[in-house]
């Protein structure tokens, strides 16, 4: 995007006519981002429910055990979904190196000075020390960092999960690839970590949905819809500030 060298106040003047800001529709989230996001949503939902059941069955198979396969079925669903989830996470990590601009790793790991500065601004915004959320086209730096953390949790979940899965095998791929996790921590601790990380992911989800709604209300950029359509409608200000690397605002 070509951004002319001008001050942001000038942009505002140009962009806002009679209180109405011209919006630009920007394609932010490519198809792969959106698909992996929604696969994650449904996988996490299914995995959390079935996983909690495996830990603490809240229903009981009635009648003769011969005719029942309640836990067996739930575990099957858990494992099948786990495979989908694992492949999905793996692909998303790959996509952060091969995907489009806003799918890439620099959206998640703040390395540039501007994104580090944006981190502080977002924190100030969340703690009511700043009125407006700093404009961004893709993820704001704080959200990106949170998604890095959540992906680390995902990877922990995948490793502990497959380590537990490997217990059913005597030899072969699963024990030789993931067996070390059990030996390292002791299997009950692997189960504990697997359980606690589930709760952390649920806690993250609460905040994730909340911050989406909050920023949607603040910015009216179609943030919530963007994860379905891929498009955000952004003010020139947004696009400018985001792409000129969050330079400090100059007061005229």
């Amino acid at each position: 995007m070509e951004i002319p060298n001008s001050s942001s106040s000038a942009n505002k003047a140009n962009g806002a006519v009679g209180g109405v800001v011209d919006r630009q529709v920007v394609y932010v989230w490519d198809l792969a981002i959106r698909l992996t996001h929604w696969i994650n949503v449904f996988a996490i939902l299914i995995l959390s429910l079935t996983g909690y059941f495996i830990y603490s069955p809240f229903m009981e198979g009635r009648g003769e055990a011969t005719n029942q396969y309640l836990m067996g079925t739930i575990r099957f669903v858990h494992f099948a979904t786990a495979f989908v989830f694992a492949v999905n996470v793996l692909f998303r990590i790959y996509w952060s190196f091969a995907g489009t601009k806003y799918a890439r790793w620099h959206q998640f790991v703040p390395t540039s000075r501007s994104r580090l500065r944006g981190l502080g601004r977002m924190l100030r915004y969340y703690s009511f020390l700043r009125r407006e959320p700093p404009p961004q086209v893709g993820h704001n730096p704080l959200a990106g960092l949170a998604y890095t953390a959540i992906h680390i949790l995902f990877v922990i979940q995948i490793f502990t999960g497959f380590a537990l899965y490997s217990l059913a095998y005597r030899t072969g791929f699963w024990p030789s690839t993931f067996g070390w996790v059990n030996l390292l921590m002791g299997t009950p601790l692997v189960r504990l970590v697997h359980d606690i990380v589930m709760w952390l992911i649920i806690a993250f989800t609460i905040h994730h949905v909340y911050s989406g709604i909050l920023l949607e209300i603040e910015e009216r950029s179609g943030l919530l819809g963007s994860i379905v359509t891929g498009y955000k409608s952004l003010t020139p200000n947004h696009i400018y500030e985001s792409d000129t690397a969050n330079l400090p605002k100059k007061k005229p």
Binding site: I3, P4, S6, A10, N14, G15, A16, G19, V20, V21, D22, R23, Q24, V25, Y55, S56, P57, M59, E60, G61, A65, Q68, Y69, L70, M71, G72, I74, Y126, F128, R131, L167, R170, G179, N182, L183, G186, T187, P188, R191, L192, D195, I196, M198, W199, L200, I202, A203, I206, H207, Y210, L214, I217, E218, E219, R220, G222, S233, T235, P236, Y240
Partner: protein
């Protein structure tokens, strides 16, 4: 266990050949001897046809020497091994080997006992089997366990490094066991950690099943080598499969039928003990097949969950024994994963709600200041106005 009545012809032929051999000169009936051989073949998870080979090998054995050392132990493994009367451990195995030194059971004492140990080390160097029971203390130069003025480590080093092989028996000798549990001050470790580089077999468990010890010895006598092991040096025939996968209560697990309280209806019906803290899903051992006390029972069989006694550091990792998951470290002994997890979610939900209230107040404030936010009145999808130069 294989039934001698259904032994193959080959076995009977071997039996015929052995009629005049040492078997009959023992105090053991040939029927009992054969029963023992077939039971050992079964315990080793070998096809029944191997019974012939086992019978022949045991016929020809020239009574190799064995020494049994005890360190930080309770003699539970000695007890378990010697009381494994079915299938005749005491009668047969004690006869197959020259049991030269074993503090709990040997007749000599004092200097005479030490002499028989020293003689074995000298005369049978590289040929005898060393069995170690109990953990070896490493803290303070190992002063927590000394025998005849020598530390356990010193003794074990001498005896084990001169042996053909060392068998660590019981969870204390294999992985440190109870003396190595959190809070222990003796720096207890298993044999493998105390003396690296030994030809070692870990017969773990609390106690290790005597039948597995007998089977290991039979394997050695028959095939002249130790059985194949897993990554923890435990024999695969005993630790290859998971208890959970062999458990007779497993159909109830799969059906979702769980004991919820001791003595409830599910408990009386023999349902799965997972909710009562059974660690069978984490433990590899052949208890369900070989069982204890003359194969009359085993923990899960009699209604108590598995505690994973054959796993490394089981006293620390498998506790609490009566809960499905361990406590959350650093949050007090009684904190369950559930309480922690729901607590974490509640805290985040609470903070989120508080933040939402804060945001609403802030936006109200902005409105009442008479500064409507320009961006809220926007028509979306308008032609973008590019920033232009001044």
């Amino acid at each position: 266990m294989a039934n001698p009545e259904i032994l193959s012809d080959g076995v009977w032929a071997a039996l015929e050949r052995s009629m005049t051999s040492r078997t009959t000169s023992r105090n053991v009936s040939r029927r009992k001897f054969l029963r023992f051989c077939s039971a050992m073949t079964a315990a080793l998870a070998l096809p029944l046809s191997y019974t012939t080979q086992v019978v022949e090998a045991l016929e020809q054995t020239r009574r190799p020497a064995l020494v049994w050392l005890e360190f930080q132990d309770c003699a539970g493994n000695s007890e378990a091994a010697l009381r494994a009367s079915h299938p005749g451990f005491a009668e047969i195995v004690l006869d197959l080997l020259s049991w030269n030194y074993h503090e709990t059971v040997m007749a000599p004492s004092g200097k005479a006992a030490e002499k028989s140990l020293a003689d074995t080390l000298k005369d049978e160097k590289g040929k005898y089997i060393a069995i170690v029971e109990g953990s070896i203390p490493m803290a303070n130069n190992g002063i927590y366990c000394t025998i005849g003025g020598r530390t356990a480590l010193d003794l074990a080093k001498e005896v084990c490094s001169n042996a053909y092989a060392t068998i660590a028996i019981g969870t204390c000798a294999t992985f440190g066991g109870l003396p190595a549990a959190e809070g222990g001050i003796t720096g207890a470790v298993g044999v493998g950690d105390a003396i690296p580089g030994l030809r070692l077999l870990n017969l773990s468990g609390c106690p290790a099943n005597g039948a597995n010890l007998a089977a290991t010895i039979v394997h050695w006598l028959t095939f002249k080598e130790l059985p194949a092991t897993d990554s923890l040096k435990r024999p695969l025939f005993a630790h290859g499969d998971r208890i959970h996968d062999l458990c007779p209560r497993r159909p109830h697990y799969d059906a979702g039928q769980f004991v919820r309280a001791w003595g409830d209806e599910g408990h009386r019906l023999g349902w799965c003990l997972y909710q009562m803290g059974c660690k069978g899903p984490n433990a590899n051992y052949n208890c369900p097949q070989v069982q204890f006390n003359d194969a009359t029972g085993w923990p899960i069989g009699v209604g108590h969950g598995c505690v994973g006694c054959a796993s490394p550091k089981f006293w620390d990792t498998m506790t609490p024994f009566y809960r499905a998951l361990p406590s959350v470290p650093g949050f007090g002994a009684e904190s369950t994963a559930d309480a922690f997890g729901t607590g974490a979610v509640a805290v985040v939900a609470g903070l989120t709600a508080a933040h939402a209230v804060g945001s609403i107040i802030r936006n109200q404030g902005a409105k009442s200041n008479g500064q409507p936010k320009a961006k809220k009145t926007i028509e979306p999808n308008q032609t973008p106005a590019r920033p232009t130069e001044e």
